[in-house]
């Protein structure tokens, strides 16, 4: 894969084909854990790790796997990887594991992962599949972090609180802007509103770009004649 190809893939993962914003996959964890930035980061990184590893394994074994049994094999691979990631979280980030709770094991059911295995990794070489896992996972993690930060800011008036769940040291209260906030943002409806706003913002940016391109094109066509 060339470097410009990798950049194109990154653009796709982060923006044009973002698993959360465009494909609308894996919404259950996305909506449930993003009550603050740290949870979003934790689950985002865990999903990214599983996605890269599962893409690599699916791609590496793709020659030996008959089409009829591919889905049970993807499920086996993904479930084992998630169990490994869960054990690692328990060993190195116990506080974060406690906070994310059931959502780490539930990565198994994140359809974004099976989707990438089926759509991409089963048809492409290992290297390209790892890059695909990296870009799609990053896109998903970025969205989790953005929504987490947004809801934390509105709902608790703070940002980056409880980062100690990652570092394991003294409690970190993060940047406290106000004490308390707009409660609705951290309740479940807040998750839906935040995701809707994120999708609307993305669509608005896309439309602005399209219109700019459309209005720029005729002008460029006219200039040589003038």
């Amino acid at each position: 894969m060339t470097s410009s190809g990798i950049i194109e893939r990154f653009k796709a993962g982060l923006w044009h084909e973002n698993p959360g914003l465009v494909q609308l996959l894996g919404l259950c964890p996305l909506l449930a854990v993003t009550t603050n930035f740290v949870n979003g980061l934790g689950l985002g990184v865990a999903t990214l790790g599983v996605l890269m590893a599962s893409n690599a394994l699916v791609s590496a074994t793709r020659r030996w796997i008959r089409a009829e049994i591919r889905i049970p094999i993807y499920v086996l691979i993904i479930a084992s990887l998630v169990t490994c990631i869960e054990l690692m979280f328990k060993a190195w980030f116990p506080a974060l594991d406690r906070s994310l709770g059931i959502f780490i094991p539930l990565i198994v059911t994140n359809c974004a992962i099976v989707a990438r295995a089926e759509v991409y990794a089963s048809r492409n070489p290992v290297g390209a599949s790892i890059v695909d896992g990296l870009v799609m996972g990053t896109g998903f993690a970025m969205l989790l972090m953005c929504i987490g930060a947004f809801r934390e800011l509105l709902g608790q008036g703070s940002l980056f609180s409880q980062l100690d769940m990652l570092t394991g040291g003294e409690p970190i209260r993060g940047i406290v802007i106000t004490d308390g906030g707009w409660l609705l943002a951290i309740l479940p409806p807040g998750a839906f509103f935040s995701l809707a706003l994120a999708i609307a913002a993305k669509n608005a940016v896309d439309r602005r770009r399209r219109e700019k391109r459309r209005s720029a094109m005729p002008r460029r066509a006219r200039t040589p004649q003038a």
Binding site: W64, I73, S80, L81, L87, M88, K90, P94, L183
Partner: protein, 216 residues
Amino acid sequence: MTDSAVIKSGVTLAVIAALCTAMVALTYRFTEQRIAANEQAWLERSLQPALSGLFYDSGVTESQLIVPPPHELPGSEAAIVYRVYAEAAPVAALFVVSARDGYAGPIRLLIGIEVGGVVTGVHVLDHSETPGLGDRVETSKSDWAQQFNGHSLTNPDPAGWRIKRDGGQFDQLTGASVTPRAIIKATRDTLLYFSTHSDQIFAEVVAETDEGEQAQ
């Protein structure tokens, strides 16, 4: 699918299942000790809030006593009691109980009671109360739970173990009165249980190896 294709698929599945199991087993081997150490550390750290200001020389987590239901403690499942000693004399008992009447499900509480019946700490271990309202009972979010320290069944008397709005002595939380009520009631009930069962609780130490059977 022909027969040979079925066999091939079966073998592929079996091989991949074996490889995946091996991967999980290896990860487990590497993380096992760290996870056990983390759990132990977490348990000990979670007991700390009820131990502040006490002098003791016994290992707290080893002195676990399980009180199976039915019992007069709050909660319908088995309650856990950790006993604290200094030079073999009882110092305090830490109760892990659950208040059943929380706003959204049970609230797991750690309640420390000194041998004389004085509360050394009330700490919320686990709950599903509303974020921003009921969750302020958490020690990390506000000082609310600290107000019980130093109180006992005579200070105030059982009628005073209520929130101020209900004519009691303890602060409520704005916007959440169900949660404080549940915790205050659970603390009072635990104190009542301790006042009548303290001898029994500390006597169990002799039979430490077969605690489970003794308690039954």
